[in-house]
Amino acid sequence: MRSFLPFTIGIIGIIFTLTSFFAIIIPILAFKYHVASTLKLEYDYNNVHLSLLTFLKSYCNNKQIYQLIAERDTNNFEDVREELVKKLSLVTLSECFQLRNSTSVILENNKCEMKRIEERGNIYIIKPEGIIEELILVIKR
C-alpha cells in the first residue's frame, strides 16, 4: 500500500494541474474569440459606414447624392436610380448590396447570388420635413 501513495499523490497532482489549466484557459479562449468577433464586426461596420459617407458626399447630375436620397419622395428619383446603383457599386466594390431605411428598400443590386458574409453600416440623414432617417447599407461578399 505504501508504494502506491507516491503514485496517488503524483496522479492527483497531475489531475489538479490539468484541471486548473483547462479551467483557466478555456474561458480565456472563449472570451478572446468573442472579443475578436466583436472587433471584426465593428471594423466592418466602420468600413461600410465610410463607404456610405463617401457615397452620400459624391455627386450625380450636379446634385449631391445626400440631397437626392433625402428628397427622393419629391424629386424624380427614378431617373437617377440606375446611376446611383452604379455609383454605390463602385464605392462598395461589390455587386451585391442593399441600401434601405427601417421600412423599405431604397437602392439595391440584385445581380448577385446569396452570399454568407454580410456587412452592415448605418448613417443618419435629415429629410426636408426635418425627420431624421436611418440609412442602412448591407453588403454581401
Partner: protein, 168 residues
Amino acid sequence: MKSIGPIAIALIGCLIFLLFEGFIFNVFIGTNIYIKTIAKEISIIEGVNKLENVKISLPYTLYYSYKTTLKNMGYKNYGEIDNKESFLSNFSKTFSLYKNELEKKTNVSISNYEIEIEEDESVIKIVLHSPRYILYESHSKELKFRIYDILNTTILISPTNNTLLGVY
C-alpha cells in the same frame, strides 16, 4: 530511491504543465495589449465617422430649416420677407429643433453656434459657424475620449426658386 522516483516524475510533470501554462499566459497578455489598441482605434474611427455624419448633414439641416421657415411664415422666397430679424429668429428655432434630433441620433453635440444670413441679388448665403467645436464623446467606461472638430458650414440658395446652389 524506489519511492522517490514516481514523486519526482509527478513533480516534473506538474512543473512542465506550469511552465506551459506560464508560456500560454504570457502570449495571452501580449495579444491582449494588441486587442486593446485595436479596440481603441476602432472606437476612435467610429467617433470620427459620426462627426462626419453630422458634418455632411448640417448644410441640409440649414437648407431644410430655411425652406420650412419660409413655408411656415407664408413666404415663397427670401425677397418677400419684410421682417428679416423675425425670419432669422424663426429660422434659428427650426434649425435648433432639427439639430437636436440629429444630436440625439448621433451623440454628437453642437454648441455655441452662430447663424448669419447674407443676401445678394443672385444668391442667399447662410453661414453657420462656431467659436467652439462640434464634439463626439465616448461614453464607454473602459475607454473615455473626446473628438473635436471645427464647425463651419456655408450654403448658397437661389433667391428666386429656393434651390440649393452650393454647399461648403
